[in-house]
Each structure stands twice: as structure tokens, then as C-alpha cells.
């Protein structure tokens, strides 16, 4: 029997046979996450029903020296939940309880498998919502959001997952259940919760999450503005920010992305646009009204040739439909595509878009651009046909060149999709060896054995080594203090 066979038998006995998947055909359904060109069939899949079962699974892995990978809904776009062939994939999809909605505390407590949008639906009747809204919010899980520090269209104003999670119960990589943060703010001690959110499953698995609920805005107004070019749409974005307006969202699509969206969902954007902007303002009605007129004027002044103002939530949803379906929509105009995720300082937008255009032409590879213009988060979609020899490689080159541009302009290799498996190789371009080694100090504190999601984030495997302990006279030991 292999180590995994022994582990499977143990977990079957401890948790019950229905928690374990080790049939080869069934295992195959977990071979990838949202980044489907990396595939690894997991050694074993475990579906714990609660935190205790999750902790027992991790402990069993630790005792067997077997690596483990956590997976929520599997919508991640950087291969963060890519399984380990000789490891256990711990899937949180059976942990879907909304434990508590506490509007008086502006908090909700949920299990990790709960779908992002379901938190908002549960809070809505109380006048609250959960602010982080990744495009996949109808299917992605809160546990996955915590692992990836997910953003979304509205994080320009409201921040990311890390700004909306106040507590988490976590199974550490040695199988212990601990509480980080909580319902009250500012927990004393190191902000381990802050370090944990966005650690991509390498510091443990969240088994219960306390999130901040945000009061629903009194007013939401949405504008769709069509421009002849991305330059003008970029100028409008800059003008809005310079005017001191902080919109809830500023989203941009270029002509090719619009073409794809029209083909897929018939969103009915203005014809002939080189770029469209969706600008959304929310907040107290009097503030929104005052600033909305300003935003409209700035778009016109920057060259918008058509402005549409959403008359009702249905029309607003239609504006957003084109944007939110954009990734999948490019499937209508290209058999294959790479979704890139990079960040540049927002002011560099027009320049970087020209550079992306140059790279695209030089390689003969089409690039459709969709992005969160307000915060400079680019999502270029690099189009190719895998059936044509060499195209996939050229697309990969273009995708990599775009990341190089982001670094050149002082940005980041990922704004919201995470490093995962996909971008570990780019980390040394953004960080020095000392930077990476310092991050690794944190990893070693949590996971000295390196069993939690190995091979992600860090480009090269590192060993932790023992901590040299030097106790001094007068330095209390933990037992004396507590």
C-alpha cells in the first residue's frame, strides 16, 4: 500500500467513506481550477463537513508527510487550487452554512464554502451587503476569496477581501484550529489575519470567516460612456479622479472586448466605440447627484460621443452584463485565450495600452482589453488558436510581455487573481531575493514542513531550517507567562 492508500483508509475510517473521493474518474473532475491549462489529478480528495473534520484531515496529512491543497469553488485564475499528484485536495464545498448574520454588529459569520453572492443575499433584508464582488461572485466561495484576497469591480472605493474580513477560524498547517481576529476590531498581537488573507492556501485553511457587512448605499447611479479611443476613455478616468471623485467603479473595455461581449450577450453598447467606460457612483443621494453631473461633464469634455445613464436597476444590470461576461465572451471570437491580470499606476494607462498594442502587432496576436480603469488593474485577454502550431507559444510570449510592462511601469504582476502556480516564475522580477526570503520567514513560522499548497507563490522550493533559539536570563518562557 502507498502512503496515500494508508491515508485514505485512515480518513475513511475517521470521517466516513462519503467524505473521501479516490475513484480515478471522479478525481479527474478536480484536476484543475479556473486556469484550465494546468492539470494535475489529485492523489485523494476529501470533502470535510466541518472545521473539525478539516483539522483531522490536515493532521492526518501532517502525520503522513503528505502535502495538501485547499479548494473552494475552483474558480481561481492562477492555479492556486491546482492539486498535488501525491497530495490531498481538501474541498470546502460541503461547508456552506451561513452561521450568523448580525446586522447590529455589521458582521456575518460564514463557512468557507459559502458563495460570495449568498452573503449579500442573506444580508440584504437587513439593509446590508458584502462589498467585495469578484466577477465570479455567483459561484466563487468566501474561503477562496480569503485565500486569494479577491477584489472586484467595486474595490476601487471599498477595498478588497482583506479590508472586509475581521476574523477567521483557521486550520494551521500543523492541523491545529486557531482563531485569528474576530468580531471586534483590532485584536492584540501580530495581525496574523492580515498576513493570512491572500496567502493562497500556503498558511492554512479558513474554516469559518467573519466578514464585515456594509450598509447598502442610498443611491446608485451608473453611466455608460462611449469614446472613439481608449486614450480618451483613459483621459476621462484621469479627469474624474483628478476632480476628487471616488467612484464605486470605473471599468473600461476596448473595441475587441466590446465586439466579443456583443457576440456573447448582446449587451447593446453604442456602435463604433473604440472604448466604453462604465462609471458607477454610490452613496447618499445628494452626494451622488452632485458628483454624477460632474462625471458626465468630464466624460463629454474628454470626447465621449454617447452617454447612457441607467434608468433603473435592470438597465444598470445590462451595462454590467457586457463587462462581467467579458472573459467568457472572448470565446465567441477566439477558440482559445489567456486571461492576464496585471496592475499599472492608473496614470500610465494610455501609454501602456499603446505598448500592449505594439506587442500585439509585433507578435501577430490579438489582445482584447478589459480592465478596472479606476485602479489600473488590467485584464488583457490574449487570443489564440491552439490548433495552429506555434500560436499558443506566441500568446504566452505576449502575455509575459504584458507582465513585464506592468513591472516596468512600477505596477504588480497580479491585482486580484493571485500568484498561484501561474505566476510564481514572475515573482523574482518584482521582488528581490531578500524580499522573497523574508516572505518565506512567515511561511516557515506557519508551515515549517512545507505541506500547505507547496509549489505556489514561491518560484523555487525553499527549506525552512531550525530556528536558532537563544534564551536569555530573565526571558520568561511561555509557561511562566500563561
Amino acid at each position: 500500500m502507498t502512503t496515500l492508500d494508508v491515508l485514505a483508509a485512515r480518513l475513511r475510517a475517521e470521517l466516513g467513506a462519503d467524505r473521501i473521493v479516490n475513484d480515478r474518474q471522479q478525481l479527474r473532475t478536480y484536476e484543475c481550477d479556473g486556469l484550465a491549462h494546468y492539470k494535475v489529478i489529485p492523489g485523494l480528495v476529501v470533502l470535510p463537513r466541518d472545521a473539525g473534520e478539516c483539522a483531522r484531515t490536515v493532521r492526518a496529512c501532517v502525520e503522513a508527510g503528505v502535502p495538501f491543497v485547499a479548494r473552494g469553488s475552483g474558480t481561481g485564475l492562477s492555479g492556486g487550487a491546482l492539486p498535488h499528484a501525491e497530495g490531498v485536495l481538501i474541498v470546502t464545498s460541503k461547508m456552506r452554512a451561513i452561521v450568523e448574520v448580525a446586522p447590529d454588529d455589521e458582521r456575518a459569520v460564514v463557512e468557507p464554502g459559502v458563495i460570495n453572492l449568498h452573503v449579500t443575499k442573506a444580508a440584504g433584508p437587513h439593509g446590508y451587503y458584502y462589498a467585495p464582488d469578484p466577477s465570479s461572485q455567483q459561484i466563487c466561495s468566501i474561503g477562496g476569496n480569503v485565500a486569494e484576497n479577491s477584489g472586484g469591480a467595486h474595490c476601487l472605493k471599498y477595498g478588497f477581501t482583506t479590508n472586509h474580513v475581521t476574523g477567521a477560524q483557521v486550520v494551521t498547517p500543523d492541523g491545529e484550529l486557531i482563531e485569528l481576529g474576530g468580531r471586534a476590531p483590532d485584536t492584540p498581537g501580530y495581525d496574523l489575519l492580515g498576513a493570512f488573507v491572500g496567502s493562497e492556501g500556503t498558511l492554512g485553511i479558513a474554516t469559518r470567516v467573519t466578514v464585515r457587512l456594509t450598509r447598502l448605499p442610498e443611491s446608485v447611479r451608473t453611466l455608460l460612456a462611449a469614446f472613439p479611443s481608449t486614450d480618451q476613455a483613459g483621459a476621462a478616468t484621469s479627469a474624474i479622479i483628478a476632480a476628487g471623485v471616488v467612484p464605486a467603479a470605473v471599468e473600461m473595455m476596448d473595441a475587441l472586448a466590446i465586439e466579443a461581449a456583443e457576440a456573447a450577450v448582446a449587451c447593446g453598447y453604442p456602435g463604433g466605440a473604440g472604448a466604453v467606460l462604465i462609471v458607477e457612483l454610490d452613496g447618499p443621494a445628494a452626494e451622488v447627484d452632485a458628483q454624477f453631473d460632474q462625471v458626465t461633464a468630464l466624460c463629454k469634455a474628454s470626447g465621449a460621443f454617447e452617454l447612457r445613464i441607467a434608468a433603473d436597476p435592470a438597465e444598470r444590470a445590462l451595462f454590467w452584463k457586457g463587462r462581467k461576461s467579458a472573459f467568457a465572451a472572448v470565446g465567441r471570437i477566439s477558440p482559445d485565450y489567456i486571461v492576464q491580470d496585471g496592475v499599472i499606476p492608473r496614470t500610465a494607462l494610455p501609454e501602456v495600452l499603446h505598448r500592449i498594442g505594439e506587442v500585439s502587432r509585433a507578435h501577430g496576436v490579438r489582445v482584447a482589453n478589459v480592465f478596472h480603469a479606476g485602479d489600473g488593474n488590467l485584464h488583457p485577454l490574449v487570443l489564440f488558436d491552439d490548433a495552429v502550431p506555434g500560436e499558443a507559444d506566441r500568446a504566452e510570449e505576449v502575455s509575459g510581455a504584458i507582465i513585464d510592462l506592468c513591472i516596468e511601469y512600477g505596477g504588480s504582476i497580479t491585482g486580484e487573481h493571485g500568484v498561484g502556480m501561474d505566476k510564481a516564475k514572475y515573482m523574482p522580477r518584482m521582488f528581490t531575493d531578500d524580499d522573497l526570503e523574508t516572505m518565506h520567514l512567515l511561511r516557515c513560522a506557519f508551515d515549517p514542513a512545507g505541506l500547505a499548497n507547496p509549489g505556489k507563490i514561491f518560484p523555487t522550493p525553499r527549506l525552512c531550517g531550525e530556528v536558532p533559539r537563544r534564551h536569555r536570563a530573565g526571558e520568561a518562557t511561555p509557561a511562566e507567562l500563561f
Binding site: 495581525d191 483628478a242 443621494a285 447627484d289 499606476p345 488593474n377 516572505m439 520567514l441 507563490i457
Partner: protein, 379 residues
Amino acid sequence: MALWSDATDADTVAGVPARFVAAPASTEEAAAVLHEAARDDLAVVVRGGGTKLDWGMPPRRLDLIVDTRRLTGVVEHAAGDLIVVLRAGTPLDGLDLAGQQLALDSPVPGATVGGAVATATSGPRRQLYGTARDLLIGMTVVRPDGRVAHAGGKVVKNVAGYDLGKLLTGSYGTLGLITECAFRLHPRPEVSALVLRTAPAAEIGALLAAVRAEQVVPSAVEIDAPAAGPVTLAVLVEGTTAGVRERAARLEKVLGGQATDEFPSWWGRYPWDQAGMKLTVPLSHVPDLLDAGVAVRGSAGTGVLYADVPVGSAPTVVERLRATAVRVGGHAVVLTAPQPVRELVDMWGPVAGLALMRRVKDRFDPGHRFAPGRFVGGI
């Protein structure tokens, strides 16, 4: 050139004298200082404005104070990108960011950027803008071994690598020397207005709920509760002229109070002279802290209050406030107190995850040389 000079009598930390003082003017100089300090096995405490040196426990040992007074200034202010990079010794007050603001209120005059981040202080407007951890987008830190590490970057949206900035925020100088911080900025609002209402403590819970129910998006919801007598509630709204007028009018109605543009003298200041606590509770339990017989003040809208602890009855008061906070899942930390009080009370109270925190400390500072003993659990 010598990397440090002899300390003077004024160079103490919570009463513990230092032997040397260094004042590096750049990250590179700081790295050289800390590299030497590591070689000589010196115990190090970082000093910014010196406004919170009496916070936490005194260091178990102290050789070298690293002062950030020469590590000042704006490295970069990219107005169009709404970001700023500041050297750690830069005073928080009086930052000139041309129509923009770093929305981090400092409760103590004279505090530096590095000191505010290292102690995670916050003020009234955390209600809208969050705290240092939320505004920070990048950090440069010199590790105890003298190596320089960066985390985050200069763009607001960035999930590349671990968020070490959050780990360092509020770490009380126990993990390294922060030399530069990058922050996201906010536009300065056109106008602001404050709506005040004074009411008996028993009515405050209902008034807070009424403010929450209005969709006026306050920038701050503060209370000032003296040891006895009525409590003052102050709600701040910021924005456009038309918007603020309308929002303030609604608050006047809901609170039965008066709008003003004059801030009360207590606004954003700690309520203590000698001994003070920070109390955090879930929002619905803020009223629990108002009838404890001590002066309490702070951000009622976020569940973060500060208490003036009478020195004479400190152990009893600390115990009572802590019991109230901890019972509802909150925390109660004694931030500062005269030495005789420190000897009688547990400064930090219960800390969850302490074993893991020790492991983090061991990795970053295996010699336990950085601010030894000042932090939770004797870290």
C-alpha cells in the same frame, strides 16, 4: 564613520536607558546600522516622534535606539494615482499633499508615520477610511539581521506575495525597522460638518443604531463619556457642499442635535493623563462600556474606545473593563500606565494565537533583540 553615538540621559525607553543612539538618513544607512547591531548582539528599540515610548512593557534589555528623525520626507507623491511614499520618520501632522490626504488620524501630536504604523494607532475617521493596515499599500523594512525587504508596492491593487505590511503594522518594532511606507490617498473633501448630541448613557445605544440606519455614510461616529454624567455623540460627514448640507440635516433630525463645523476639544484625543486602555467590542456592545464609572472616548461607530484608568484603582478598573470586553468577544489592552501600575496589571490581556506569534517572532528575530519584551506575551 561611526554608525552610532553614545546615548544621553534623555535616551530611555519606558525608563530603560540606552547605551547608543543611531539616526540613519536612508534605508541603506539603516541597514548598515542594523547589520552592525546584529554582529554586536545589540538590543534595539526604534524611536520615531517618541510619543509612545511609554506604551507596552519596558524593553527587557536595551543597547541601541534607532531614531528615525533623519529618515523623513516624501519619497514620491503621485497625485494622479492617489498614492504617496513616505519615509518612516516623517511627522503625520502637517503633511502637504496638495488637495489630497493620507486619511490616518493621529491621536497624539508629533507622531511619525513609522510610529503610527508600528503601533497601529487610529483616530475618528477610521469609520470611513479604515486604519493604517487598510491604507498601507507597500513597505520597506530593515530586518533585525540588517537585510532590506520590500512588500506590496506602489499600486493600490496588488496581491503579489504575502502582505508583510500588515504583519509589521502594529508589531511594536519587534520584527524590524520600518523605513518607508506607501499609502493610498483620498481626495480632501470640499466641506465637512459635525452633528452633536448630548444624552444620558442609557440612550446612546439607540442613537447609535439610528445613525447606522440612516444611509448618510459618516466619516466618524465618536462618543465622549465622562466618568459620570451625560455622554456626547458626534457624527462627522464629509463631501460636497450640497451633499453635506443634506446629510447633516438628516442627522440633526435623527439625533435631535445640532450641526456645527467646530470640532470639540476632545475630538480625536485620548482621554487619559497617566493610564489608558484601548477597548474593542462588537458594535452592539459599545453601550456596555459606558456605565463603567470611568471616562471613555472613541470611535463608537467601529467599536473602538479608549478609557482613562484612575491610577488609584487601576487593577480593579482594568479587570472590570476587561471582563466586560472579553465577555462579548472584545479586547482590552492597557496602552500605557505608570510603572507601579504596570507591575499590578496584565497590560495585554488574553491573546489568541500567541504560540504562532512567537513562531513568527522567532523567524524574524531569532536573537530576540528587537524591542524585547515590549509586545504581547513578552515577545
